[in-house]
Structures are given as C-alpha cells and as structure tokens.
C-alpha cells in the first residue's frame, strides 16, 4: 500500500456532547493524505458521530456541542469564522443509505457544481460525464441521464451519490457505512472504487465490517465506549499493524470477535 506522510486532517482534543451526554472524549488523530482510514468499533461507540464531525454535519443536531478542533490542512474547521458550506464542499459525505435527490440522474450530479457557481452548459456536461466515469456508472446510464435517479437499483444509486459528491471537487470524502445497505456485488464495486479514489482523495470510512477494513484501509481507528458511556479512541495505527499486532487488549478482543 502506498505511503504518505502528509497530514490531511488533524483532530485536536475533540470532545462531542449531546446535551449532557459526553459522546466522544479527547480524540486525537492525524489522518494522512491520499489514504483510506477506517473507523471501527462496536455499535453506539460514536463512529458515525466522529465521522460527521469532520464536515460539521453535527451542526444539524441542535443539542450537539463540540470542543477542540479539526484542522483540514492548516484550516480550522471549528473556527467561528469558518464558512461551513465551503468546508462541506471540500469534505464530502456519502451516507449509509443511498440518498439520491428526486430528480434526474444528470441533475443529481449537476446540482452541486451549479450552486458553486458553474453555469456553463458544456462545463456541467463535462463534469457529469467525468464523475459518472469515475464511479464506472457512465456506461450504464449515459443513455438515461434524464431518467429519475430513484428508478436506479440501490447499488447504482449509491455510486451516483459518490459521483455527486465528486462533482463538487472535494479533497476528502467521508463514507458513513456506505455499503451496509448493499448486496455483496455492489459492495465490492464500491470498495474497488474507494481504492481508486484514494489515489487522489483522502478517504474516511465508518464500517461494521472488519474484513472490509482489512481489505481496503491503510489506517484504522478503533473506538469504544468507556465505563461512563463516553466514546474514546482506543487505538489508531496502520491497519496491518492493528490487525496483526494490536497494542490494546480491548482492540484485540474486538477484532478477534470476542464482543461487538
């Protein structure tokens, strides 16, 4: 697997609270650029919450409060002068279930770039083709671009969602258990796609599937709740290391399937 030393995302003592519930405590991670980082851990340990911290989707939850900061390159994501829309443009998110918009395939791709100021028809057509090509969907849908995206099968819808995220030219893409609602064949296609994308983009995935983490990720982060039900980062290391020689007893128990 490729090596990269440049840090793309850095969390600095991130703490997340939902009202009075302390959901994540003191998470510190240096996520290398152009790699795949898998966030693993038992249900309810705050994996998705952590992932959504990176593009501030937790802003949508009124009771959520964040302490600490995340740096994208050297830009603070939680600075109060940060343009949240700009951060989300740079850090895309693919959801657990495909969430194509109820409009045509083409409009699904074009809606992002359009709102970021690209008006030129030819440029939008070019983006549509390039992004669908990137997710290997172009050949399958090029004759039905005007059809409603809701008519596609789930696997294709999810790849369309990835293409839609790519269309706004992000630097980081977050995948929130994006294969869990798909059949094995579609999952395989998306895993291959993630590996290709990791050459250019920094990728973070949340997954329940240990094999998936081993198959595709460079780095792994293992999260678990402590006795106060607060999520903590137990171990963060190269995936090969974590799965061959876990440093923490809890990690070992989890990846060998003793709980979770």
């Amino acid at each position: 697997m490729k090596k990269s030393n440049k840090v793309k995302l850095k969390t600095k003592d991130i703490n997340l609270f939902y009202g009075s519930v302390h959901a994540l405590r003191d998470v510190n991670m240096d996520i290398p650029s152009c790699s795949i980082t898998a966030i693993i851990g038992p249900s309810g340990c705050g994996k998705s919450s952590l992932l959504r911290l990176f593009n501030r989707m937790n802003d949508l939850i009124p009771i959520a409060r964040v302490e600490g900061d995340v740096l994208l390159d050297s830009t603070s994501i939680y600075d109060k002068n940060t343009d949240v829309a700009e951060i989300r443009k740079k850090i895309g998110l693919v959801f657990q279930k495909p969430n194509v918009f109820p409009m045509s395939i083409k409009e699904n791709i074009m809606i992002g770039p359009k709102h970021h100021g690209i008006r030129n028809r030819a440029a939008l057509d070019e983006i549509t083709e390039r992004c669908l090509e990137q997710v290997s969907l172009w050949g399958e849908v090029k004759d039905i671009l005007g059809k409603s995206a809701l008519e596609l099968p789930a696997g294709q819808q999810q790849r369309l969602c990835i293409a839609r995220a790519l269309a706004v030219d992000p630097e980081v893409i977050l995948f929130d258990e994006s294969c869990s609602a798909l059949d094995p064949e579609s999952t395989m296609k998306i895993e291959e796609l993630m590996l290709t994308l990791a050459k250019k983009y920094t990728i973070l995935i949340v997954t329940h599937n240990m094999e998936q983490a081993v198959r595709i990720s460079d780095m792994s982060a293992f999260l678990m709740i402590d006795e106060n039900k607060t999520g903590r980062l137990v171990e963060f290391s190269r995936t090969t290391e974590m799965f061959s020689n876990p440093q923490d007893k809890r990690t070992e128990d989890y990846i060998t399937g003793r709980f979770g």
């Binding site: 109820p102 409009m103 709102h115 839609r164």
Partner: protein, 284 residues
Amino acid sequence: MVKKIKENFSGIVFFALALSSVSALVLITVFIFVQGIPLIASAGLSNFFGMDWSPDRGMYGITPMIVGTASVTLGAAILGVPIGLCCSIFMAEFAPSWMKKVFRPAIQLLAGIPSVVYGFWGLTFIVPFISKYLGGLGLSILAASVVLAIMVLPTIISISEVSLIALPRQYKEGALALGMTHWQTIRSVQLPAAKSGIVAAVILGLGRAIGETMAVIMVLGNSPALPRSILDPVRTLTTNIGLEMGYASGEHRQALFATGIVLFAVIMILNITAQYITRKKVKK
C-alpha cells in the same frame, strides 16, 4: 349466537351511516342537475354563457360571474400563495420550536373564524382603505382578493408545511453535505421534492376561495357586469346564488341551480386534480 347477531347488526348500522354521507353527495348532485339542466337546455348555451344577466327579461348570461370568480380567485392566489408558501417554509425550516407552538394554533384559529366575520372586517377595514387610497367605492375585486387571500392561508400553509416536513431528512442532509447553503437546499432540493404537496395545497386553497360566499358578498359590490379594473365591483358564481335564491322562482330559480352546476364542475375538477397529484406523489 347472540354475539354474532350483535356483530352483524352493528356492521349494518355502520354501513348505513357510512352510506348516508355518500348518498348525501349523490342526492345533492342529482338535485342540482335536475333543477339546473332544463334551464340550460331551454335558454340555450349562448344565452346561459352570455354577457347579460337579467332574469326578469329571460337573460341568464353567467359569463360576468365566471369572470368575477376567476378574477377574485386569481387575486387571492397572487396575494395568498407567496405569503402562505413563505410562511410554510419558515415554519418547516426556520422557526424555533416555541414559535411553532404559537404559530400553528394561531394559523388553525384563522381557519376557524366564521366567514361572515371576515366579510365584516373586510367591509369596515379593507373597503374604506381601498376607497380612500385607491379611489372608487372600495367594494371591489381587490377587496375580495385581500379577504380571500387571508382565508386561504390556513389551507395553503398547513398542507405545504406538512409536505415539507414529510420529506426524508436525507434529502436535506445530502444537499448540505454538498456544501449547499440552507436556503439553496430549500430552493433547489426541498421545494422541488415537495412540489406535488405544495401544488395540492394551492389547489385546495383556491377551491376554498372559489366556494366562499358570505365574506365575498359583503365586500364585492355584487354588480353582475364585466369589470374593467380590479377596483370595480363584480359578482361571483357563489354570490349570484346567495344573493338571489331568497326571492327567485321558476326559470330564475332554475338558472341559479344551473349556476350551481358550473360551480360544482369547477370545484370537482380542482379536487380531482389535487387528489390525482397527491396520489402520484405517494406512488413515487
């Protein structure tokens, strides 16, 4: 055995009661048509859809009333739809929960005010206002449009708001995750996705405007002639019936039923359209 008889008996009772409400629709429809159709047949379509409404001379032209209904409804739509839609967007997307707790019952209360009160308010407030600042008598299309615009707000707001709230949360999250702003998300994703519900809201609201009689009678001036401006008085299909039914007899009376047929047809078309649109949404 006794239990079974009881079961059957209550089934029959409920069926009979259910049937009575449906049969009310059938009876009213049949009655209106039986009363109205002979007049249309004997007077002829060119008379009935003519310009001149003078029952004492055997002229039953309802075109001015159709124009009247169309113009006050259009006016109510122009004033009421943007306000109602903005209000529903505000309620669904921006209002803090304490504000929703105040606004929602307030808007529902708006629907509960008797229409004669709206008319009275229009007559003592809107009509003099128009007369003073825009000229004319004040009894006008504009006055009726303003009153109707307020009356259709509860329908438009509540149905549009529900259709916005009912959208899957994933649409909004997906759009925000692309770096779209909240307003861009509303405009480009949520409103188009809720389109069928919003269209249904507007149609049902306008159905209410078309059917409204009492409030309109009080502020419209009620002259059965073609209007030349929005400051002119007109008469609508409903007010035509409301004003004259009390003393009409014979052909005149039948002509009012015939007016009812036209009204009935318009409302039916609107309701069927609204049902068709909402059903299409569910299927998708």
